[in-house]
Symmetry: C2
Subunit: 436 residues, 2 copies
């Protein structure tokens, strides 16, 4: 009898998420916040712009003084001062005069408009301050003026807690007065790949050895996601050695992931090293990736969650995407369920899925026959989702999700798929606001 | 008269791309290749899997020996040996016997199938080698066997030059025998933000000073893209100081980007420091971002291209996306035009666009009224694409591209938009193969 799954993917994920909790917020300088999650609602400390200023190079005036200007009958005003951008602050404009002003410079007190240099008799560029300027067109009150706070008023909400801080968000935070932000620190994930059969990538192979693609892959997946990887080790089938490596991993990390050594065989080093009241090995109703382990490791700073993934590379890949990333999201202060958000697709061809297990099939996406219909999903390899086919995994655009009760996917069948970022440049995307 | 644009965006970009060229390929270990571009076609050095092996924990047999097995009439075979995964290599199976075998272990010579442990009288897990096994079901030839090279044959193409090396691609390279890869090194981008009016983010402001959001933003944009940023400096309006900083920047970088100091004013520090036969300042038919500069700086390792962006934050943002990223792509060995690939959208509301200039309007994307139609694009701020509105730029999902000849965008109008990755978790996507 095949061993029956003991739990659904959702039940397993729920138990994983109980093991992890977000760390307290840390305050970091903006330059260290890229990719991190904001841990408090941000409101504007400064208005944007912080003072009323000119949006053009030109001459600050009172609009009333140039109301009658035309090319044929220009209005000549004495140029009383020069107002560069910079820390000097605003000049004062007397009626009937002009002040030369640069883009971004504070609007002089008494001025209510700026005449761009192009609407005067003056040349553009780096020239001495002229004694007078002839204005060739009238301007309305407020012309070429950016008012204090017109972009963002003081106290206005700028971004909510939970925002992932990309470049534009960091710029916005700077513009409204922040030099540092309360964030969740970058999660630290330790990765340990196990098995006597593993050789380092590129190493000459003996009789029964294979290149270890898992360690490279899991470290890269964690890095792509935005985690730090303080420990990345390959260990053979000796439980004592593995226990020592895991103890070091737990000291250095917020989450430990192992790979391999958890199935039904006689030499399952992760089971042998970890099976205890703290760590359980279970059968999850998913394919690939049925055997899974979860629990905690003791460390001097407290219990550290450990997830044990199976060793087949595609199983590891799917396990990272479906189980590890949600745990990292919690550690990063983000919504774990957003990590497995799906898009609608249709099957491009028929394929099989095992009874009673949710299948995650690596698929290519192809354009639909009619524009606007869902993309077509085709398994990346003629052999389907067999879990050892790491050699074609990089071709996948998404993981098609086949429900547990479906054993035969039919061509044209509607289904959900988890897209696999990061996007390569040859994969432009259609963006949709999150349906949740 | 407003100064007329001297060139289209496409003409300007073409001239920029003539300034940059991809570096020679470097060979780096897999762990250093994440995010880099492969510079040669990769073919399999090893077959995947590298030897014929078991996909299950169980017993290697000759299928013919268990052809008549059933639960009622099991076939009993003596267990002659134990075949763990690992470097020992394959055993030899005598007819009429079984060899216990673990997942991934080499199939013994003489065996042609594996009976999973679940189809025998033996328990799963870590137990002593039994003297004999009773097989409860027949298996076909090839059952639970993964054949050498069935995933990838030796010499088969695995991925082409130009592939961006994500986690799965690195795993595939490892699996087919590579420990290092020929790649384009990570481009080095120096960023210099200019202006007497700039204060560091979070610093108290004087009368005419504003927080410098550009330096933070451009460094973050470069980092998000995958460039290194060896120099990131804020400089005031002194041309001599700026020249010294730029000389250092050129020594450390493959590309230098400045920000601010290039428009029509009297105090334009970047123009003053750089205007020469090597560097030109031009008017590009785009909004925001009309003033632009381009040229080269002399460095001891040769000429280094420099791009001068305008200082308004949204202008800088758009300039980075539309002009700097394509140059970085060339430096990284990738297709520069993929950086500005667009998706179809429709305008959610009407807005204006300047005559004779291509507009890049930061927009939110909203779901269409009917599923399958293009997403609806709505400017992120009630004030439209005004270039100083950095406080709302992080809300944008995309830059809507309004053609130069359009002065009025109508609600419902079809247009293209450049999506703005990296995607936040609340932005699931629909993926399409690249149309090019």
């Amino acid at each position: 009898m095949p061993e029956s799954p003991t739990r659904t993917v959702d039940e397993h994920l729920a138990e994983i998420l109980e093991l992890v909790s977000p760390p307290p917020a840390a305050t970091l300088p903006l330059a260290a916040c890229l990719g991190l999650t904001l841990r408090a609602d941000l409101t504007a400390r400064l208005p944007a712009p912080p003072f009323t200023n000119s949006s053009m190079d030109g001459f600050a005036v009172r609009a009333a003084d140039v109301a009658g200007a035309s090319a044929g009958r220009p209005v000549e005003l004495p140029v009383a001062d020069d107002q560069p951008a910079g820390p000097r602050g605003a000049s004062v404009l007397a009626p009937g005069t002009a002040i030369r002003i640069m883009t971004g410079a504070p609007l002089p007190e008494g001025a209510d408009a700026v005449v761009p240099v192009e609407l005067t008799d003056q040349p553009r560029g780096s020239v001495p301050l002229p004694p007078a300027v002839r204005v060739l067109e009238p301007v309305v009150v407020g012309a070429s003026v950016r008012h204090r706070g017109e972009g963002v008023a003081v106290g206005a909400p700028v971004m909510p807690a939970g925002t992932r801080l990309g470049a534009a968000a960091l710029a916005a935070a700077a513009a409204v007065g922040y030099g540092e932000l309360p964030v969740a620190r970058r999660p630290r994930l330790a990765v340990v790949s196990t098995g006597d059969e593993l050789a380092a990538p590129g190493e000459a192979l003996g009789g029964g050895t294979i290149p270890d693609s898992n360690l490279t892959m899991l470290v890269a997946l964690a890095t792509e996601w935005g985690a730090d990887v303080p420990v990345a080790e390959r260990v053979g089938d000796d439980p004592g050695t593995l226990r020592a490596v895991l103890a070091r991993a737990a000291e250095a990390a917020d989450l430990v992931v192992t790979c391999g050594g958890i199935s039904a065989g006689a030499y399952e080093v992760v089971r042998q090293a970890l099976e205890s009241p703290r760590v359980r090995f279970v059968q999850v109703a998913m394919q690939p990736g049925k055997p899974q382990g979860l629990g905690t490791l003791a460390a001097s700073h407290g219990d550290v969650p450990v997830l044990a993934l199976p060793g087949n590379p595609v199983s590891s890949f799917v396990g990272f995407r479906v189980l590890v990333r949600p745990a990292l999201a919690v550690l990063a202060g983000r919504d774990p369920h957003a990590e497995t958000a799906t898009v609608p697709v249709r099957a491009a061809e028929a394929w099989r899925s095992p009874a009673g297990r949710r299948q995650y099939a690596p698929v290519r996406l192809e354009p639909p026959e009619r524009p606007g219909e869902p993309f077509l999903a085709r398994p990346t390899h003629r052999l389907g989702s067999a879990s050892h086919l790491v050699g074609s995994l990089h071709l996948a655009h998404a993981l098609a999700v086949v429900p547990a009760e479906v054993t035969q996917v039919e061509a044209g069948q509607a289904m959900a798929a988890i897209p696999l970022p990061p996007w390569s440049p040859e994969l432009p995307v259609q963006v949709a606001p999150h349906p949740r």
